[in-house]
Symmetry: C2
């Protein structure tokens, strides 16, 4: 199939991940090999840049950019949270594509961004403008459907797994002084990242002891019972808590005053999150101290702790976008498909954009225990390969304490 | 000098660090070579364990313990925050030492723990009980005097430096949506760890933009002016804020209801810290959004990001404690002395315990800029060698945005 010669427009959107730049690197390295692509333009702050006609000419950047992007956190092009709604915005975009001979469009992002991507693809088709559109998945939330998992999740999961088990050892060491630690973890609707807190746990003493996910209704009474039971047994309790836990009425726990973002999501991670609220509840009702660990954006930014397999898959997903152009494909998102078998292996696949736009993929029931306060062995099997190198086996004394004279 | 044959009692105390176990490893590996040491007892939860006569017999642990301790976070023996005050506690301890032939005592800890260590040393001397006492420094706060720096600081500083610059890239990428991020960093009285947030910054755009230390009086009006000035210039502001900032009356910012610990310190890092308070202030007064990153105990626990030089120095400090026993020394703390010269080099030294007990070492004036909201080049020179491998040079686009047609 002969391809049109023209320019590539690429953007990054939504909350950054440690490897969204690795996907950009994959796109860039592959786009340079595709003869039909002339200029590579990077939208400044995603679709907002396209609306303002502000782009970076990536064809002009130094040759070491691709290599550096592999370990650079956040979005090198800048990101945004902009929902396309107005008719004049579509017109503006179509004008931009036409005026600048944009024939290839890549958008790296999550659910909302895949919606943007799909709308642009539809726009081009409806207006008979010949432009191929491919989405590259990206989200620490791991909530895109069809793909086995999302680039970005494995690295954030690695940070959460390591920081939980390591700060859990801190709490355990301080148990004569501290009582409870609550780690508030990102994930507005899906609990994947919170669930990943379990991955470093090797024994009962290791953190976390309790995990609360948005997939289950949060009940304050039951929570206090759970905390008390662990406390009575171990003398300390480490709780992994999703920022998105909600009560039976669907209200976010402790987030009555939260602001709302452009997509109508409540921004619950400003100063009042559920962890601070529950720490107070524990103090009031159980009379024990609770600390809050809330790394906030640190958990989605730490490329220093990126999962090696995540970096590699993010890069491959970026390359695939360009390969799909050469195959004549459009209106698809790149997927990571897991090949059944003993050894972890991924094959690059694809899904129609309309099937992923705005669809959220929650944790399935068999990944959550019956009590709704921990994960299952099946979740470990699913998730462990995604975080790269195994979590170290830290020292733990073998002998029990003895009584001196 | 012929030494007494007897048993070694060792404890870890105060807030854990990523390398306090590396010091324990150093003590253990060296103690095994000292013929006079028979049994090695590890106090369960520091001096509290000694008071309860609860110890681990470390002589019985498997041979790979030392190696594993080198990368194990927190305190393998358990820690405590117990201040020796009562006369009967001293009696109990003396009885314990005598009944169990404890002739060697090592305590790994910070200011408060060196006070405990010194009191025990004095007790033995006053009661004519022949026991050598050595303190091994440990604190992420880096606030012990005489020593160039404290084991534990370099690793926590590495985490803070990396997480600041990496989550700073996140904020920068999201600047069309987010405005301000406040990273609340540990250090009740000394600003060393907060200052380390600067170490990954290579240009104006990189985080942090403002640093507030307990060494300077915090003024809310000036803070708002500082934030606004950076915001007007860059469109986003990353603030590194010590949890210990105080106003002109000496009151912790936003911590009116805070609880008090056994040493009389206000425990300001529970649910209400200064960052949450200031985020609200920014929203109210400047009308812009502020996020809070507060990793809490994660910042002092992450052995996964430990500084290699810190691990090595912590190990050497532990070894030195035993070497000082063979040299007939007592009532001293091990110090790390920096040797002047181009290349970073450390020599192991010592300081009398009475000169370090309860003494806090604050940041000197020449490490803080005139405005009191950033660090100086001299601080970089002092601190960069302590965090081990250099912070990566992340990608940053060279070209300026262009305007498409």
């Amino acid at each position: 199939v002969p391809k049109l010669s023209g320019n590539l427009l690429i953007g990054q959107s939504g909350g950054p991940t440690p490897v969204i730049n690795a996907s950009l690197a994959g796109v860039l390295s592959e786009a340079k090999k595709m003869p039909e692509i002339e200029k590579i333009y990077g939208m400044k702050n995603g679709i907002e840049g396209a609306l303002k006609k502000e782009v970076y000419d990536l064809t002009q950047e130094p040759g070491d950019l691709v290599e550096k992007l592999l370990y650079t956190p956040a979005s090198a092009l800048g990101s945004c949270r902009h929902k396309l709604t107005k008719a004049e915005e579509y017109e503006q975009l179509l004008d931009l594509f036409k005026a600048n001979n944009i024939r290839y469009f890549v958008y790296i992002g999550g659910n909302d961004s895949m919606d943007t991507c799909h709308k642009i693809s539809k726009l081009a088709q409806e207006e008979n403008y010949d432009m191929q559109v491919v989405g590259v998945p990206k989200t620490i939330d791991n909530d895109l459907p069809i793909t086995d998992h999302c680039p970005g999740f494995g690295s954030a999961a690695r940070f959460v797994a390591l920081s939980t088990v390591e700060s859990g050892r801190d709490l355990e060491a301080m148990k004569t002084f501290d009582d409870v630690a609550i780690f508030e973890i990102m994930g507005r609707h899906a609990g994947w990242l919170t669930a990943a807190s379990a991955l470093g746990k090797r024994c009962e003493e290791d953190a976390p002891h309790l995990i609360y996910l948005p997939e289950r209704t949060f009940d304050e009474e039951q929570f206090l019972k759970d905390v008390k039971a662990v406390y009575d047994k171990l003398g300390y309790v480490y709780v992994a808590l999703s920022e998105g836990v909600r009560d039976k009425d669907g209200e976010f726990i402790g987030a009555k005053d939260a602001a709302t973002d452009a997509f109508g999501h409540k921004a619950i991670s400003l100063s009042d999150g559920p962890a601070a609220y529950l720490a107070k509840l524990i103090k009031d009702k159980l009379g024990i101290k609770a600390r809050v660990n809330r790394p906030g954006t640190i958990q989605r930014a730490m490329s220093s702790l990126a999962s090696k397999s995540d970096v590699e898959e993010a890069f491959r997903a970026g390359q695939a976008a360009i390969q799909y152009f050469t195959q004549g494909l459009t209106d698809v998102m790149v997927t990571l498909d897991r090949i059944a078998g003993e050894e972890y292996k991924i094959e690059i696949g694809k899904a129609p954009l309309e099937k992923v736009a705005n669809v959220e993929n929650f944790m399935p029931d068999h990944f959550i225990n019956e009590a709704g306060n921990f994960v299952t062995k099946e979740f470990y099997d699913y998730c462990l390969p995604l975080i790269g190198e195994p979590i170290p086996e830290y020292a733990r004394l073998v002998g029990k304490p003895i009584k001196l004279k």
